[in-house]
Symmetry: C2
Amino acid sequence: MTLPRIGVFDSGVGGLTVLKAMAEQLPAHYSYFGDTARLPYGTKSAETVARYAIGATRFLEAQNIDLLVIACNTATALAFPRIQEAAHVPVVGVVEPGAAMAAELSKSRAAIVIATEATVSSHAYRDALQRHGVAAHEKACPLFVPLVEEGWIEHPVTEQVARIYLGEALAQAPERADVLVLACTHYPLIAPMLRRIAPEHMQIVDSAESTARVVKRIIEKDEICHPERSEGASATERSRRTPIQPTSSAPAEHRTFRFYVTDSTDKFKRLATRFLGRQVDHVEHVDLGG
Amino acid sequence: MTLPRIGVFDSGVGGLTVLKAMAEQLPAHYSYFGDTARLPYGTKSAETVARYAIGATRFLEAQNIDLLVIACNTATALAFPRIQEAAHVPVVGVVEPGAAMAAELSKSRAAIVIATEATVSSHAYRDALQRHGVAAHEKACPLFVPLVEEGWIEHPVTEQVARIYLGEALAQAPERADVLVLACTHYPLIAPMLRRIAPEHMQIVDSAESTARVVKRIIEKDEICHPERSEGASATERSRRTPIQPTSSAPAEHRTFRFYVTDSTDKFKRLATRFLGRQVDHVEHVDLGG
């Protein structure tokens, strides 16, 4: 019984939280591509982001992946349809799974979305939540990513920053909001802290975790044409490929991890070890040009 | 009497502190080019940074500038000789003026350099200080730039972060170090705070301020071939151009500011107003491609 091969794409290290969540739920061979030389995607045009993402897609497809996860909020927000069109395997993004989970949990039909400035400006979560009938208040938290990358996870400075950001978000959002969506792949690392700070009645939705659940469902049920509107894989794509092997009987220890980055492998290794909670030694440098 | 035309180039908004320092000392027509769509330069190869910087140089030269300031530590560290070679006007970088000023002030011949991770990794300041006979301890302070861009200038969080970073730097540096070099163009905004936190005997060198002084000296004395080794303009360049007009008699109110950016003008306007301490309304978007 062969394990499925899953490609994971992000502009940097953030997508590793999605990889971690998947690896905990699903034995598979994982290939992770971090386009670290060209980050951040948040300041780039949709055109450019689509071009970069499609380059990464081609690279990962050459590793014979069965499914591609766009573990990058910006690429999902700006270029999902174009990536899906270009890909020969099913593609899952990070926005829709988080929005769907938030919609499932919210009783009041109002949520707070915290994310980077780029993700907030794209309004991708607001739009996705709206499709599920949930009103969203979006709050940019630009210091969280550098704080996480600095390794200040359980740190008084990060806690102080989180109290300020959440305080501002709560003051501006509709009072009834009962879900807090962590709409950035860096945020799962500070989820325990955010849980302590957020009001007790708010449920926290981690989009890495939500994405992992969607991927697991697709792989296990071979449910390639999954029900979500904008980020599901299409039936056309389903027909292009052979069914993914169910994995329940494959031993987890057979799973492998491969990492590819476009910039310095050293910085990536250091951050990846922190993000994954396991030593990451083998990282290959690749050059996709431009 | 015409005012000199000065081109200022940076990957983003940081170089505006250099522009501000120059504008306070020197009436001139300033054209500022912020390559905001392609920042940060710190993660890119020397080859790529040189290509971008030379593109910006061509753009600014088309505005008939008399002198070009590379107000970007990464571009200065990685590509100064290539920019100088490509330029048809004298070029001043930000590293050498700061290092020269630190060397002038240091009695103990030991300095602490605080900068971004990219600038520290380049060791441009360490090397420049070494040429002046000063030993440098370099300390990366990756949270300062996002804190400044968040607008948290006189803010308890920034102060706490500054105390941590400076504490670490002081613990690791030679005890005799008597100069603190602010080797990032964002840091002048938090210079008053750093002054309060740093030990009293340490002098603070602001590389934006130091660069402005060098530019002023060149312009006023038409001393194009200024004495600094690596970042001065060459005599060849001097001969290629007509002398710069002395400016003392030109009224300061005749000076103009033009801003060009490769990404969103809105974000730039907002940050530029904070960095310059004056309203910035007219920012042109330009596209230099790839």
